[in-house]
């Protein structure tokens, strides 16, 4: 079974971003970039499926700038077999990314596509569901457990009230939640080997996909700052403040 994994290059999760002075976006100059944490979990899940003998080939794909090759090489070092970069210098919306991934799905015909549930930059939580709609595949979003058996996959999903398990006919789309697995680190020999694995570069034009958007970002601002309050000296003082000053209990 072929598994396709989509990964995104994003600002590292430890970086506290700053809004640009002209309110055109956030300042990403000289900021550490990494693979989106949910995408790391997606890669790990695919590698585990291969280790179990369920997956036979793992293709990793990213839509983004030339530098996203770094994240693809990381995925290759973690165990993916080959990589595809659909190169676009523009910041694309989730729908545009889903359309490009659909073109890659048509080309590669994977049985299972695994994506992160959301990217920690745009926080959209859309791409996997949109890819599922465009390809006509069922979806198991926010997965905490993935079990392939025969021509279907059981996905346990993190939902607001607990957990839900659904059965999906393959081919299917899975998006990962935090507890699905704990991603491994790439070993140095594997990092060296990854440099020799194939990495194909495509463009939206070559895939015949238009990336125009119905959304336009007018401005990006810093959130209203919350000023630090006071330190109380005792529990008694805290209770007094909550009762008589804030009046919340």
């Amino acid at each position: 079974m072929k598994v396709l994994v989509a990964v995104k290059r994003v600002v590292d999760y430890n970086v506290k971003v700053r809004v640009k002075a002209d309110n055109s976006g956030v300042d990403l100059a000289n900021v550490k970039m990494s693979m989106n944490p949910f995408c790391e979990i997606a890669v790990e899940e695919a590698v585990r499926l291969k280790e179990k003998g369920v997956a036979t080939e793992i293709v990793v794909v990213s839509i983004g700038p030339t530098t996203a090759q770094e994240q693809l090489r990381t995925a290759l070092a973690l165990g993916a077999d080959r990589a595809i970069l659909v190169e676009s210098a523009d910041e694309l919306t989730s729908l545009a990314v889903a359309k490009l991934l659909k073109a890659v799905v048509d080309k590669e015909q994977p049985q299972l596509v695994i994506l992160g549930k959301q990217a920690i930059d745009s926080d959209n939580n859309q791409t996997g569901q949109m890819l599922a709609a465009l390809s006509g595949y069922p979806q198991g979003t926010f997965a905490s457990k993935v079990e392939v058996s025969g021509d279907s996959v059981n996905v346990t999903r993190e939902i607001d009230a607990g957990a839900q398990t659904v059965s999906l006919k393959l081919p299917a789309i899975v998006t990962t939640d935090l507890r699905l697995n704990e991603p491994r680190y790439a070993s140095l020999p594997n990092i060296m080997k990854a440099k020799k694995k194939p990495l194909e570069v495509l463009t939206p034009d070559a895939l015949g996909v238009s990336t125009v958007s119905t959304n336009k970002t007018l401005k990006v601002e810093a959130p209203a700052a919350r000023s630090a309050g006071i330190k109380v000296k005792s529990v008694a003082e805290l209770v007094d403040k909550l009762k008589n000053e804030a009046k919340v209990i």
Binding site: K16, V19, S94, L95, Q118, I120, D121, D123, N124, N125, T127, G128, Q129, M130, A132, A133, L134, Y137, P138, Q139, T141, F142, R157, E158, D160, A161, G162, Q164, T165, V166, S167, L168, K169, L178, R179, S213, T214, N215, K216, T217, L218, K219, V220, E221, A222, P223, A228, G229, I230, K231, V232, S234, V235, A236, L238, V239, L242, A246, V248, I249
Partner: protein
Amino acid sequence: MTTLVIAEHENGAIAPATLNTVAAATKIGGDVHVLVAGQNVAAVGEAAAKIAGVSKVLVADNAAYEHQLPENVAPLVVELASAYSHVLAAATSNGKNILPRVAAHLDVDQISEIISVESADTFKRPIYAGNAISTVQSSAAVKVITVRATGFDAVAAEGGSASVEAVSAAHDAGKSSFVSEELAKSDRPELTAAKIVVSGGRGMQNGDNFKHLYTLADKLGAAVGASRAAVDAGFVPNDMQVGQTGKIVAPQLYIAVGISGAIQHLAGMKDSKVIVAINKDEEAPIFQVADYGLVADLFEAIPELEKLV
């Protein structure tokens, strides 16, 4: 201009987040219709008709919609969407599951988790875990939007008198099926709707120690939450997680106990009206957003707090 709100419901009742979503729809202007999709949901439809500001309720009662499978519900919404200027759903696990599928079918970009309506086509939403607020304008014929409940005060659940109309369309894609559900059982208020939330972090040390928070919460009528660190450490289940990738809460009072205050956690609670932080590390970042900070050992402070409230 008419907005369609997808109702969120469970066990035959309208979920609170639906009322916040109707509030956002009301701010957009024009008529507000509500879609109730499910099985045996006539009573939910009746309840939806009473929501303030709603003029029509569409009830799609069919076995295919019972478990809100997105493969079946999304085509239903798509079929109805052409009559609407906006389609809204709460940014719950259910809304997030279904709505992007609808947007893709309609070939429009979705706007996720809006926190304010600037005009009928312009909305604000947080990005980068709430470290930036983006103002987005949509040119889509049908604007597809999920609503962050904490951004909008709920409308009244009673007082409206909308007409109720049955929708006969049955969509069963036949590609997915429900297997089972394990729902967390709790007598405490729901985390995202509670007026007071008490949350524990890594400082709780283990799951057993959360009993101190449950006792305090019960005395305050509060819900109990947790940081990702506490969930990752296995202290408590994931449905208690507050943060960028967990639940977003904005109660009147948020008490953070043994939580350091990573940006991912702050993203889920910093819009609370009053924040209290109890932590023995006085350098913990949580104190930078707390209205009242108490530097203390939580195992001494919590029992004392429980006695005094």
